[in-house]
Amino acid sequence: MDERTTRYIGELEHELKKLPAHDREDALREIRSHLQEASDSGTPSPLTLARLGSPRNLAAAYMGDYLSARELSLPTRALRVAAVGAYVFGTTFSSLFVVPILAISAFTFGIAGVVTPILSLMRTFGATWIQMDVPGHSIPTSLSFPVGLAIGVVCIGIAALSVAALRLYLQLLVRSFRIVAAQVLAPAMSVGDKSVRVVRAGGSSS
């Protein structure tokens, strides 16, 4: 075996260090056997190594399979499911407050934003039953509409912000649930190849 090949095997061994020792040894043995066969049949070693791809890529192809969930130990799986449960519970609980508060805020300020300018306009034209006071002194009738309008704009602004915040909150929530479901829960709950087998059995019997 030439120096490049030895270095290749060394790097591959390093990249495969996360595999169980027995599987790693077996994989390395098979690759070594392959390299030997190739050199016996006269293939130049740089070509053989190029065909195998970089040690990192080859190792990644091996590992891809091992990283799937059925390799996770039972406690890890249980822990993951528990973490997801806690997350779902926590977010649901926080939604109990966040969603109504934002919704009520949007509703109330929205109404106030429309009603205040209307009432202030009525006051300008002599509806004396409408009171517009700042603590201390009353606002002159001539100013009531501009002040009412300003308050209305501020209220509409707050209502719009509440709606935007509510939407954002719900979007983020849905997105995070999707990520959790796809990346954590699905592999954590998977039971190896069972589902594939079921499909197969159905497919071949038909």
């Binding site: 599987d23 791809g53 192809a61």
Partner: protein, 104 residues
């Protein structure tokens, strides 16, 4: 590629290097040595293939793969799928040609 490997191994026990020399002329299969071995390992782990190391008279020990009953049922399933796929592609092409003739 998986289908080809299963079919080759179903015929008789094969080892990696042998499979590679059979598959490598067919560039469309995108079979490189770097994909073959991880795939063999996956099939072995899913118990579709069984592997055994054997000394060879000349050269290094070889890891021979044989097909299991699970592997055979997988092969059957994949062949059915494959036949269905090629048939639908052919049918689609035939319809396309007819249409092209009608409007061409």
């Amino acid at each position: 590629m998986e289908l080809c490997i299963l079919r080759l191994v179903a015929a008789r026990p094969r080892y990696g290097y042998e499979l590679m020399t059979i598959l490598s002329p067919w560039t469309q299969l995108a079979a490189t040595d770097g994909t073959l071995y991880p795939l063999l390992r996956r099939l072995e782990r899913s118990k579709d293939l069984k592997a055994k190391w054997q000394e060879s008279e000349a050269g290094p020990p070889r890891k021979y793969y044989t097909i299991t009953s699970a592997g055979l049922s997988l092969l059957g399933f994949m062949e059915t799928e494959w036949t269905g796929l090629t048939r639908s592609v052919e049918q689609l092409q035939a319809e396309n040609r007819q249409e092209a003739r009608r409007y061409g």
